[in-house]
Structure formats: C-alpha cells, structure tokens
Symmetry: C2
Subunit: 157 residues, 2 copies
C-alpha cells in the first residue's frame, strides 16, 4: 500500500472507531496538580491483535493494551507521535478533523503555560473535547481545576 493510501486508511479507521482526546488526571507530581494526558486510541476485538501489531509496526509508535473485556487498545500517548500522526492523517480525516486540530492546539498551548491562570485556560480548551466526543463522564474539567487552584491561592483575579 502506498504511504498516502495507508495514511488515508488510518484516517478512515480513526474516524470510524478511534478516539482523539485529552484527559486531565489528578497528579500532585505536576506543577498544577493535574497531568495533561493526550491520547489517540484505536479499538479492536483482541482476536485482531496481529492486525493492530501490524499497524503499530508500520506507524512505529504507540503501544498495545489488552483489556479485560476482550478488547484491545492501540494507544498513541507520547506528544511527538501524536503530533506526527495528526499532521499526517489530517488531510484525510472527515469526521474527527476538529478533534485532531484541537489536540494539536492543546499540545501547543500546554508548552506556553506560565501560570495557574494559563493552566485554567488550557483546561478550558481541553473541555471542548467533551462536546466534540459526546463524552458523558468527564469528571475533571476546567471548573474542577479552577476551584482547586483557587483554593490553593494560586489564581490571580
């Protein structure tokens, strides 16, 4: 398969059954007590492990995780790989182009965070995944982050 065709294939796969998202995870090791965790995930039944391994070998990024429920996840979590994959598949994405642009914006913005206020703005940007992905259980959103940082006295008015 030609390289551009392979990337278009991956775009179709992501559009049909993949996820592009960023989560905020409580983690006191991080400066503002939350880790910004971006992911691109492809799902399949674990019977298709060989196939996902093939994708992984071709893309040279990410890792496979076998879940307990008979599913397998191919996750790309490191920022450099995410940037690369999003830029390569962007021209072919039809359904999840907005998510692709948003994850790139989040990665860019996260590099420019200089204050707790900036971090809250970043969290607000991440919140936009909620409506794009119709996700119902985003527990940690910008409001939670804002309240936490406010209580710690880190926010300026």
């Amino acid at each position: 398969m030609k390289n551009s065709n392979f990337l278009a294939y991956i775009a179709g796969f992501i559009d049909a059954d993949g996820s592009i998202y960023v989560r905020l995870k409580p983690n006191s090791q991080y400066r503002y007590d939350f880790q910004v965790s971006p992911s691109i995930v492809l799902y399949q039944k674990s019977t298709e492990q060989v196939f996902l391994k093939r994708l992984q070998d071709k893309l040279k990024m990410g890792y496979l995780r076998i879940r307990n429920d008979g599913m397998i996840e191919y996750t790309i979590g490191d920022r450099e790989s995410i940037r690369k994959l999003m830029n390569l598949t962007m021209p072919y994405l039809m359904l999840k182009k907005k998510q692709a642009k948003l994850i790139l914006r989040v990665l860019d913005k996260s590099k420019t965070v200089k204050s707790a206020n900036d971090f809250v703005k970043l969290a607000e940007l991440i919140d936009k995944f909620g409506s794009l992905n119709y996700s119902k259980r985003r527990i940690i959103n910008a409001r939670v982050v804002r309240n936490h940082l406010k209580n710690k006295g880190l926010l300026t008015p």
Copy 2:
C-alpha cells in the same frame, strides 16, 4: 482527497466499524424459498448523518437508514454496487479482505445456481461468514436450507 486515498479511507472505515455479510432470508417468492441478501454496512451515531450522506454522494451507491436506537446505517445492498465497492477497496482492506473475497465468491456462485443441490452449496459458502464475522445469531444456515429443500423432495442424493 485523491480518489485512491478516498478508497483507502473507506477501507479503513469498513475495517474498523463496517460489516460485510450475506444473509439467507426465508422468502417463498424465491425459487428455493430463501433470498440471498448481501450487504455492506457502515454504522455511525445519527448525529453524523451529514457525514454518511457525504460518503453516499461520493460513492453514488446505497442508502441511509435511521434506526430507533440513535444509530444510522449506510447500507449498500445491490449486487452491482457491492461488486464495485469491493473491487475498489480490496487493495486497501487489511482486516476484512476475507469477507470481501467471500462476498464476491457468493455473488459469482449465486449466478451459477442451477439446482437445489447447487443452492445448498451456495448456502454452505454463505455459512463461512459466520466464523469470519464471529456472528452468533445466524439462524438460517446451510443446514436449515438443506433440511427444507430435502423435505420438499428437491434434493438429489
């Protein structure tokens, strides 16, 4: 998007979240009392109707069906379109190439049916979708067809 890229995209979409299958449906209008019904189906949440409509407009085949459960199906059911789509996406399919080849074989074989015995052989070929698609509820299989045609005295030993 270039045409070959669009076809690779569709292949990725089918591999991730599409179905390629043939069903046998009881129907006394047909010569051997069963209709051979092939389908290629793409699924999405009904919020993505505009997107599926775009695919339909580009592929110029099939129809959309809004289900009661908030899903929408884009189904290609006519044989000429199925042939065309399978031949066009075949080079790019990675997961469902076997199903694609099998549906083409079924379409070919169904044109050569000349007897009830031939029809049972066709039903046996259709049965192969069961294991390829891990389908659990194939009620009408070759055994059912064979028994029915046997009871009608149509099978030669």
